[in-house]
Structure formats: structure tokens, C-alpha cells
């Protein structure tokens, strides 16, 4: 199953999205990277790397992010990843809707490409 990583400045945001998605799907591998390691608002490359590591498989990993430094830190996490980063993709999508769609899709055993097609209409132009 495709792993789903949620990166946000806020721990509560990613926990909330996971909670919301779990009403529909409890099967998908979901890992959270919300807030900094000292629990402030912000994003943390170490948390993102370990979240990717937790849900990594040959099926691939999709990384959703909220804004600003979340994207830059996700990119840096990929630059330094121990795993094969070609199987890990950061996606541009409305955070809540995109992540929930992907979590449900992954639970239905859809592939990376199928999930990406399902969320294609949710782009926000967050990845210039």
C-alpha cells in the first residue's frame, strides 16, 4: 500500500486530518510530521524523514504539506533520505481533501499513479 505522510506546522492539524480520514479508512499506512521536535509550530526535517521511513515501501510514499517551510523541509528530507527517493513524491493538493482522498485510496490498494490521478483536480499551485 502507498504510504501517506502529512507535514504541517501544527501537530493538531495532522492529527485532525488522520482522525477525519480514519472514519473512512483505517488500513492505509499514514505517518505524521506536525510541529517541531520541541512541540512548537513549525516543520522539522528529522520528523519528516522518520515519517517517510515509517511508511516507506516499494509501493511508494506520497507527502502532503500545508504551506511555506513545510514544502522546503520536505524537499530537504528527500535530499537526505536513506531510502530510494525516486519512490517518494511531494504532492501539490488541498491539504485536507487531498490527504483524505489519498488515505482512502491507499486503503483500497490503489497505486501511486491512480492516487495522483484522483487528486489531480485539487492542485493549489503550492509548488512553484
Amino acid at each position: 500500500m502507498v504510504g501517506i505522510v502529512l507535514v504541517s506546522h501544527s501537530r493538531k492539524i495532522v492529527e485532525g486530518i488522520k482522525e477525519l480520514a480514519s472514519q473512512m479508512s483505517k488500513d492505509a499506512p499514514v505517518a505524521l510530521a506536525g510541529g517541531t521536535d520541541d512541540d512548537r509550530l513549525g516543520t522539522d526535517i528529522t520528523k519528516i524523514s522518520s515519517a517517510i521511513h515509517d511508511v516507506y515501501s516499494d509501493d511508494g510514499v506520497l507527502v502532503f504539506f500545508d504551506m511555506g517551510s513545510a514544502y522546503m523541509n520536505a524537499q530537504m528530507a528527500l535530499d537526505f533520505l536513506e531510502e530510494d527517493s525516486s519512490k517518494v513524491e511531494i504532492v501539490d493538493a488541498a491539504f485536507v481533501e487531498g490527504a483524505i482522498t489519498a488515505i482512502v485510496d491507499s486503503g483500497l490498494n490503489k497505486s501511486m499513479d491512480e492516487i495522483k490521478a484522483d487528486i489531480a483536480s485539487m492542485k493549489l499551485g503550492k509548488m512553484p
Binding site: D37, R40, G42, I45, S69, M72, N73, M76
Partner: protein, 210 residues
């Protein structure tokens, strides 16, 4: 200009200056951003100091690489990946040099600016740290071409960075949290440009006092 132990001294001094200006940077960020720049930078540079204390650096490149990773891992805001990338690009530009001269200093500032442009998909005039860093290395290049000595080059960099940071008051933010405010960002100094000017100023002051 500098061997390894002097670079350690200069970065330690920069970290102290960031700590002293923590409140000021947070106030700048509070006006047009999310109000955490001072805290984030102070935290990031406290880990840089820790890295410097641990030592064991092979080369200046190694020093910049480890300091950059400390910033990437501990700043928390957008400044983490941006300053982190700047330090990592500086490291790459230095390769296996054992000491750096004023030409090297300007080259690493230029490499750092290129790294920030790449990471932030940004350019000059968008009210970011680049608006301090780009005029700083350009002033350094001019000073070098006029045959100025190391102290003069460092002072030219410091002065241009300071002016560049102040002049961000005239710019409308195009990147980061302040871009949400648009025209309302006018009249305020960009906190990232301000901290860039503080760091470059601290480096110049450190070498002037040697």
C-alpha cells in the same frame, strides 16, 4: 583571511549576535509574519554553537556543512531550510580548502545566495534575505575588483547588507508568510534580511577585532 579556528570564532560571534537580537527579530516578524523568527533563529544558532563546541572539523567546508545541518534540523521555520541550504552551498563551494581568503568569502556568499534562490524559488526584490545577501556579495565583488584589503571587503559586505535589509521596507513581500499581507507589508523590514545583515555584520566585526 581565516583558518578553521577563526571561522569557528566568527560563527560563534554571529550566533551570539543573533541571540542578543532575538527580541528585535521576533518583533520584526510579528509585524508582518508569524512572529517566531527571533526564537527560531536563536534556537537554530544555539545548536550551531553546540556543533562548534563539539569541534572535530576536518576543513572549513566540514564546519559549514555541520553548522548548516544544525540549522536545517533545529530552526523550525522557513529560515531553517533557507539558511541551512546557504551554509551547505557555502560548504560545497569551499571544497577541500584549508583556509579562506576574501575572494573565497565572496564566492561562498554568492553560492549561498544561489542556494537560497533554488530552495525558496525566489529572486531579488521579493522582500527576503536575498535582498540583503545579493547587494552584500555585489559590494564585496566591487571592493575586490578595486583591490581593497580583507577588512575593507568585509566592511563593504556588512554595510551593503545593512542597507539592503533596511531597504526591504520599500518592498512588497512576494514570498513567505508576509506575502499574505501584500501591500500591508510595506514600511516593515524583512526579518530574514535583518538576520542576514546581523550575521554578515558579526563576521566583519569579529575579524576587525582580531
Amino acid at each position: 583571511m581565516a583558518e578553521l579556528n577563526q571561522l569557528i570564532g566568527a560563527l560563534n560571534h554571529a550566533a551570539d549576535v543573533i541571540e542578543e537580537n532575538k527580541q528585535h527579530l521576533t518583533e520584526l516578524d510579528g509585524a508582518i509574519g508569524d512572529g517566531d523568527h527571533g526564537i527560531n533563529m536563536s534556537r537554530g544558532f544555539s545548536f550551531v554553537k553546540k556543533t562548534l563546541d563539539e569541534g572535530g572539523f576536518q576543513t572549513p567546508a566540514d564546519l559549514f556543512k555541520k553548522s548548516g545541518m544544525a540549522l536545517v534540523a533545529h530552526v523550525g521555520g522557513a529560515s531553517g531550510p533557507l539558511f541551512g541550504t546557504a551554509f551547505l552551498r557555502a560548504s560545497m563551494a569551499l571544497k577541500d580548502k584549508t583556509e579562506i581568503n576574501s575572494e573565497d568569502y565572496i564566492s561562498i556568499l554568492k553560492a549561498a545566495a544561489e542556494g537560497i534562490k533554488m530552495r525558496g524559488k525566489s529572486q531579488a526584490g521579493e522582500k527576503t534575505m536575498l535582498d540583503a545577501l545579493i547587494p552584500a556579495y555585489e559590494a564585496g565583488e566591487t571592493a575586490l575588483s578595486q583591490g581593497k584589503d580583507t577588512q575593507e571587503v568585509l566592511q563593504a559586505v556588512k554595510a551593503a547588507a545593512r542597507t539592503g535589509a533596511t531597504d526591504t521596507e520599500k518592498l512588497v513581500a512576494k514570498k513567505g508568510r508576509s506575502s499574505y499581507l501584500g501591500e500591508r507589508s510595506l514600511g516593515h523590514q524583512d526579518p530574514g534580511a535583518a538576520s542576514t545583515a546581523l550575521i554578515l555584520g558579526a563576521i566583519a566585526d569579529y575579524f576587525a577585532a582580531l
